[in-house]
């Protein structure tokens, strides 16, 4: 039913997604990081739409639309606004230097593909080979959350992780049920809003968004 061209297209888009994940891992500037995140959302939406077209799953169109609205337009806008209000345009500070992070990321990708191969042979969808990519981008985003020192990149990492998860869902099983998808979308939205509020609170309390100040909160 699905033409090989569409399958290749999906694979291409997934590869782009992975590339962006690496780019985010390497990116030093917050503003570019947000833009990259928006691009990643766009690619995700595109791949979902292609998937919907190739497999005639109509509800996937809706989730593609939702992705565009939420992850390409709204969340980046929100993050931009936050940065303007907080007036923090500094460079991203990392805990580990970027080449090391990239190398670790490379290892993770190999691991993810290794892990996904037996599973993707079970999957029946056109885009089964993207499962490894999806898993890799989840792990890369996680890695990004670990290595960033400030709060905003961490939140972006969290959102990007959700992108990877979404890709995994669409590629392996033609997407989750619509209700679950809507729920997750809402969760991400609410999470982003709450975290936005937290940024203000954290800065209020510590005069900085550096997370190392949170160490003071532990039990002595």
């Amino acid at each position: 039913m699905a033409s090989p061209f569409l399958g290749d297209l999906i694979n291409l888009l997934a590869a782009l997604l992975l590339l962006i994940a690496f780019a985010m891992l390497a990116q030093r500037r917050v503003l570019s990081l947000i833009n990259l995140f928006a691009w990643q959302g766009l690619i995700l939406a595109a791949s979902t739409a292609v998937m919907a077209y190739s497999s005639h799953q109509h509800h996937l169109y809706y989730s593609a639309l939702l992705t565009v609205l939420l992850k390409v337009l709204f969340l980046p806008w929100l993050l931009h606004r936050l940065i303007r209000q907080l007036n923090v345009k500094w460079d991203v500070e990392t805990l580990i230097n970027i080449p090391t992070t990239m190398l670790t990321g490379l290892g993770l990708v190999v691991f993810a593909f290794n892990l996904a191969t037996p599973i993707s042979q079970l999957a029946t969808t056109v885009a089964k080979s993207t499962l490894g990519i999806a898993l890799a981008s989840v792990l890369l985003s996680f890695l990004m959350m670990i290595t960033r020192r400030k709060a905003i990149p961490q939140v972006i990492g969290f959102l990007a992780m959700e992108n990877g998860l979404f890709l995994a869902a669409t590629s392996a099983t033609y997407g989750m049920p619509m209700v679950v998808e809507l729920g997750i979308a809402l969760d991400v939205l609410v999470g982003a809003v709450i975290l936005g509020i937290f940024f203000f609170q954290i800065r209020e309390a510590f005069d900085s968004l550096d997370l190392k100040h949170m160490e003071q909160l532990r039990e002595k």
């Binding site: 892990l115 890695l143 670990i146 020192r149 997370l211 039990e219």
Partner: protein, 651 residues
Amino acid sequence: MLGVVGAIAGKSTSWIQRLVFPSSALTSLLLLVISLLALSQPVDTLVLPLGLPGLPFHLRLDDLSAFFLLLLGAASLGVSLYSAGYFRAMENATRRLFCLEYHLFLASMALVMLADDAYLFLVAWESMALSSYFLVTTDHKIPDIRRAGFIYLLIAHLGALALLLCFGILQGGHGDYAFAALRNAHLSSFWATTAFLLALFGFGAKAGLLPLHVWLPEAHPAAPSPVSALMSGVMLKTAIYGLLRITFDLLRGQQPWEWGALALGLGLLTALFGVAYAAVQSDMKRLLAYSSIENIGILLVGIGLTLLFHTYRLNLLAALSLAATLYHSLNHAFFKSLLFLGVGSVLHATGERNLGKLGGLIHRMPWVAWTVLIGTLAIAGLPPLNGFISEWLLLQAFLFSPRLPHPYLVMMMPVASAALVLAVALAAYVMVKFYGIVFLGQPRETKLAQARDAGIWERLGLGWLAAGCLFLGLAPALVIPILDYVTRFLVGDALGSMATHNWLFLTPVLPERASYSPLFFLGVIASVVALTFFAVRRMYHGRLRYSDPWDCGYPETIQPRMQDTAEGFSQPILRIFEPFFHIEREQPDASTPRPRYREKIEDRLWRLLYRPLIRFTDRLSGGITRLQHGRIHLYLLYSFLTLLALLIFVR
């Protein structure tokens, strides 16, 4: 049955004490009657549509449950009557809470005895532990009481954990936790032994077996007296019930002799330990708490002996020792509740728990003094009362132990029975000390003159328990048939008509060996007393001369301070068993200007076992705290690594 339980729990919402406690006493009476009737009935089972979905509560009323419900009903009847009068001075809010917890406690104990699946059993067991914890900490504003409650809760939870594991083993991989399924699960002997050890640990924690007894002497002085009475009189018996249920019912037919020997040895150690510490206490409730430990030891000795006989298929003898055990638990429920309530009355009237500040209360509180005298004589194991019968039956069982086909056991048995007799005799010593110092002699403090006797409700409660002691002591022929139902259910034999063919004489096994008639004994005592009285009157010409005793002709009046103190009374025991105790003494010599004498006796096991344990746990948790850096990145790293490890694991 459920109605009864529901009624006990339902009453608790109303708070007018005059209504609540008497009605809960009525409910207890109802429980008593029902369980008495249930003994002769076939087994009743009931499935309640409560609990988690797919896990309904199973209830079952068989002879063993009925016997222990009988015990619960009988003891709680007295305690509830007593409580109706006891808590007058309490604040309203506290009292209302107390009411709720008290009835929750009773209801959960009843549920423990009725439960027919491990799930309900543990739920009831835990709610029993929690409600009794809150009862213990009724006066939670005092730090010592909070500490006592914490120790209690900690050990109760350790025990519950062991029970959880024990039931997990018992189900043998079927996933069905109904007792009926547990009975049919065939375990290998290794797992059966593990289950038995866990049960011994779990129930031992509740009952106060040797290394796990530390909560008892802390919790009892902290709790209000009726609560101590219930905890000691009934709650400890739930542990005995559970142990009997698991060893004889659920693990039916696979009891190696080592279990019996272990239980016997532990029981003896506990009994001796308990009584030795009871002898040196100077706090009334602490003394009674240690005496509870001793009695639990005796019960465990009985269980161990039953196990031994049962292993070698000497079922009649197993029935004998089991009957002795059950009889003793019933007795203990009566006399220990009675003593705790009596102590409660003394505490209420004088505000003193320290033996050294009491004395001569028999003149001020005759009701309490006479009922407590009955309890004291009973616990000391003196003949016409109930304590004697159970101990005598147990010793009779010991005398049959040469029939065991195991030479080493037979060699050890005389030592064991001698140790038991030692414990029992020391218990009598402890009770002489307790009664003599509190009630006899002269008041040691002036404020004791204001002590008032107990009110009407207290008298009713004390009277019921004392009457129970008398009845159990004088009419064993009526009690043995009740026990026979249980022994037939558990070990497949009963003392039967042999024991009771003659209502006057109690003959455990063979008439040639031994028989005992309490009524006859009472008659002899009464006639000897009457004869002496008569002879004194007649032959001594009826001349009576009143004078102070022990003044040796010294004309000055005797002062209260000249009396033997509690510490003085226990010195011989303290000297004999000195290695048992950890003693801190402060004995300045005669030339010190302001001498201060102090003696503090501590539990050896605190030092040997608990302190190192506490230190170890402290260090361990210190190490774990080091994981908590407070750095989000590290937390994320932890979860990342866990995720990776799990992913590798599931591949």
